[in-house]
Structure formats: C-alpha cells, structure tokens
Amino acid sequence: MSQYVLETNNLGISFGGLKAAQDVNIKIKKNQIYGLVGPNGAGKTTIFNMLTGVYQPTTGTFYLCGEELKGKSQETINHKGIARTFQNIRLFNNMSVIRNVMVGLSNLPEYKCGFFTSILRLPKHFKVEKQMRKKAKEILEIFDLLEERNNLSCNLPYGKQRKLEIARALATNPKLLLLDEPAAGMNPNETEDLMKTIRLIRDKFDMTILLIEHDMKFVSGLCDEITVLNFGTVLVQGETNKALNDPEVIRAYIGG
C-alpha cells in the first residue's frame, strides 16, 4: 500500500503534434484537498480525462493507492475508486434527484441484484431498493437536497445541480474525488457554502479530493497543496500560498 492515494508518473498525452500535457507528476496524500490550477488551455481537464479513462495517456502512468489504473476503462476506474464531476454539469436531467444518486449507488457490491431478481421482483430486489433509497437519502441530507429529492434534477437551481453532481459522484464510494471547477458560475455566497461542503465531505467521508478551480480565493482557502500548470507542463508545485505567490505563476496568469 502506497502512502499516496494518487500518484502520477510522468503522465502525458499528445493529440497529434500538440502536447496537451506532459511530465505531470502529482502525489496526493490521504485526506488532502489538492488543487490543479492554471490558465485556460493549460491541460487541467485533460489530466482529469486521463485519470478517469476518457483519454488514454500516451506517456507515463498513474496509480491509485498503489494500483496501476492506466489503460483501464472508465467504468473500471470508477469501480476502483475515482469519481468525478464535470465542468459543464452533466446530470441525468429527466430523472428525479434521488434517482440520480441511486444510479451512482447501483454499482456498489452491497447493492448487487441480478437481472432476474429484478424482473421477478423477488424479496431481495425490494430489500436492495430500500437500502439504496435509505443510503441515497443519507447522502442527499448531507448536501441539503433531501427536500427536493422527487424533483427532476434539471429543475434544480444551478448551485444545487453542482451539489447533486458531487453527491452522485460520492455515491459511487470513491477513494479519490475529482471536481472540475466546482465553483464555476457560483455567486460568493454559494462559493462559501461549497467550500464548507467540500471540507465536510473530506471530514465525513474521509475523502481525498483533487479539484480544478480558477477562483483563487477558493483555492487558497481550501487546498492544502496545488500544482500550477501552463501549456501542459507543470509550472510550480507545492504548498498553496507559496505556489500562488510564485513570480512564474503570476506571470503565467497576468502576463509580463
């Protein structure tokens, strides 16, 4: 068992001649909130996509708790313990809030229920459904979404949709949670609220979190360590406030 939850080893990908990310080495310890920042087009989301199996890295590899996950499919990576949210919210819009979370729960081994068990509606089906609903309610309670559980998810306000997406990712019982710009489009109050929620997630679920964010206040208030990317390469890595004040980082963001 490695001491790091996530360890990337010279992770890189190129699309034709474009090196979208190269030589990225990130090490995240358990219970850390780790930030990934950088200007637009720096390759942050590309790294997320590699970590979740959407893209296959061309160079390097990555490990989750010491287990190599490079080359695995998206589903397998999720089952192994990496869950993510998306920059542009991707909920199951025509399904109610609680069913969104229940989809996340459905792959956990404790809620295993075969095809024929469901078709024949054997007692086990009802037992599993009941347990899933109970668990989903517990998760929604934490995110303050319990009241809206029977609404369609597309009818939720923006901030709550973000929260629901995180709730759905957490329902898959991950070891590492990837949040892609969770505070994008939120007002300061909602951002403040989200920061509290993320801290709560870490403490309550004993979670390790890797997040992408542009809001520097959010990053410096929340992250223990960050990696700053620019043009696909790592600019600076380290403790948050020190890294953010690095002249290189300021130049990358503001120019000069």
Partner: protein
C-alpha cells in the same frame, strides 16, 4: 390504510385493463363465440402491443433508434414456426408445443439481439439505425433464400394450425408478460441505469455504469419479445413469409411507439391497438378499386393525430380535455409530478413526464411541505 397508500396503483392499471379485457373476451369466446375476423383482429392487436412495448424499451428508455424490430420478429416467426412443425408430429398442437415454440422463437431472436448488439451498440443515433435496418433486410433475404425443405424459401413456411381460441388467450397472457418484464425492468436499478444512459452517456460511464452491458440488456430483452411476437404472428397467419418483415413493418412499429409517446408504456399499448384496428378496418372498408386509398387515409389520420398531439394552437383544447387531469380531479391523488407541470417549456416534451411517472420508485414526499402549492393549483 398506510399500506394501501403506498401501493402505486398507476403501475398496475395497465395490467388490470389488459387482464379484464382478456377475461371478458375469453368468457365471450366460450359462451357466445367470437367471429373469426374478430379473433384475427384481436391477435393482430396483441402482437402489435407486444412489439410496440418491446421497441419502446430501446427507443424510449435506452434512447437509441432501432429499425430492425421486424428482423427480430422474422427470426422468431421462422424458428418458432419450424419448431412447432417438428413438434406437431410428436406433441400435436396443444398449449405445450405452443409454449415451446414461443420460447424457442423468443430465445433465438434474443441471441440475434446479442450478436447484432455487441458490435452495433458501439454506434449511436443514425448509424445504429442504419445497422439495424440492414440487419432486418439481411434476415429477410436469408430466409427468402432458404431451401424449400428447411424454411420454405420464397414460398414461405406453413405453420400448424392451433385452436382458434388458444392463440388469443395466449396473446393476452404474453402481453401481460411483456408488460411485467418491461415495467419491472424499468423500475429496478437496471432500469435506472438504462435511463441514465439515455439522459447522459458520458456521465453514466463516469458514474460507473457499464454502458455496453445495459445497452445490450435493453436490446436483448426487446429482441426477445419481438421474437415472441413473431411466433404468434406466424401462427395467427398460418404462414410465415419473409417479405412481410420488411423495413415498412419496422417503421410501422416505430410509428406506434412515437405516436403513443416515446417512453410511455401505456401510450404504446393504446396506440398499437388503435393503429392496428385502424389499418384492419381500412382494409375491410376500402376494397377493390378503393384499395389504393387505404394508405392515403392511414397517412392522413396519422398526420392529424401528430398535429393534434403537438400543435401549440391546440394546447388549450388538449388541456381542457386531458383524460389524465380529469382523472386526477376525480381521484384526489397527491402526485408530486403535478407540481412540475408549470415549470417551463420542457414539460411539453412528451418523453419526460410519463417517463418519470412510470419509473419513479420513490416514496411520496413529505406532503406537508407540498400541500400549499398543490391546493392552490387545484382551485
């Protein structure tokens, strides 16, 4: 009482209707007796219902367009018919041989579903539609080119005759079976996974849903019932001929699904029965010289129905005579979905409301929080 409240009558109302209608007709057939043409019409309706409900699983719930439903039906019809011919010598034409041939036909179609599904379900949208269309045509021409001894070739396969009442009683039972399987599937965690793929495939993958598995599941179940419907069809017509299973037939099933509301099982049942009725009646009324008018009338009626269902100009009229709302006014049913109705344009997209109502496995929300809104709406 509390137990009764939790009982979701809306899921069972379609079983009840089919069962009662089936029972009445069965009793009638044994006492008064039914005309041969009525029985034939009933069988055709039941076959159409099975086909529409099973296609709805792929088109409505999985969200993929399949134009090969008649192909699966063809497989079922030929293989089921062949098996029953073989069995007719040994078992006669009793219910047992009927059950065996139905099972064999259904399973063969399901196997075809897996074989086609595995490569084809990597495709999406129009591409999948074209592959399934191709599959239907291939199956058709394969059976057309078989030898006379095996599957009858271009002349078709004569199937043994069953007792005239057995088939439609079996038809009702099979409609109930189809409804049970499709509804139970969609109300389970597997059903949730299937709808999540329709809503957002990328998110479904990231949430750990095995997309291939669930697509294949929906596709196979759908093919299985298409096969069963095919077997029924072959016995109802006493003959299988592959040219009937062209893409026209697939489109006709698709029309039933679309007209009944994509993703609405009850809608599929009603529209399948109505369209079949309409087609058969048109064929009996317009004979001889006027036979060319059949398709014209059929098309005009379809266009009128579609316009009536979707035209914004008729919205007021529709809402005034909405059967569902009339019903909910009579039965004071606190349905949380009612609140959704006034929340924007999406409510008019037909997939969404029936979808969530059919599939919702959730308990009723805390009524005290919802009641104020609800009471205002009622007035």
């Amino acid at each position: 009482m509390s137990k009764l409240k939790g009982f979701k009558w809306k899921y069972y109302i379609n079983y009840a209707v089919v069962f009662v209608v089936g029972l009445i007709l069965t009793l009638m057939s044994f006492t008064v007796g039914l005309e041969q043409s009525t029985i034939y019409l009933l069988e055709k309706m039941l076959i159409a219902i099975i086909l529409a409900v099973s296609l709805n699983l792929v088109v409505g719930f999985l969200g993929e367009l399949s134009l090969g439903h008649a192909g699966f039906m063809c497989v079922g019809a030929y293989l089921g018919g062949k098996i029953s011919l073989i069995l007719a010598d040994k078992l006669g034409t009793g219910p047992l041989s009927l059950i065996i041939s139905l099972t064999v036909g259904g399973l063969c179609a399901a196997i075809c579903g897996v074989i086609i599904g595995l490569p084809a379900l990597r495709l999406k949208g129009d591409y999948l539609a074209i592959v399934t269309l191709g599959f239907g045509e291939i199956v058709k021409s394969i059976f057309q080119n078989t030898s006379k001894e095996s599957f009858g070739g271009a002349l078709g396969l004569d199937t043994p005759r069953y007792d005239k009442y057995t088939l439609f009683i079996f038809g009702f039972a099979l409609v109930l079976l189809t409804l049970a399987v499709v509804q139970n599937l969609m109300r389970s965690k597997h059903g949730r996974a299937i709808t999540s793929i329709r809503d957002n495939e990328i998110a479904a993958r990231a949430t750990g849903i095995n997309v291939t598995k669930y697509k294949l599941m929906a596709f196979t179940v759908s093919a299985f019932f298409a096969g069963i419907a095919g077997v029924l069809y072959s016995f109802s017509n006493f003959k299988v001929n592959s040219y009937t299973f062209g893409y026209n037939y697939s489109i006709e099933i698709l029309v039933m699904v679309v007209l009944g509301g994509i993703g609405s099982i009850n809608g599929s049942i009603i529209s399948a029965a109505l369209i079949t009725f309409l087609n058969t009646k048109l064929a009996t009324i317009l004979t001889g010289d006027k036979a060319v008018l059949q398709n014209l009338f059929y098309a005009v009626i379809l266009i009128i129905i579609v316009i009536y269902n979707n035209s914004p100009a008729l919205k007021g009229f529709r809402e005034k005579y909405d059967l569902k709302k009339m019903f909910s006014r009579v039965v004071k049913h606190n349905d949380p979905s009612v609140i959704r109705d006034d929340q924007g344009k999406w409510a008019r997209i037909p997939t969404k409301i029936p979808m969530d109502e059919i599939l919702s496995t959730d308990v009723q929300p805390n009524q005290s929080t919802l009641k104020p809104d609800k009471s205002k709406e009622d007035k």
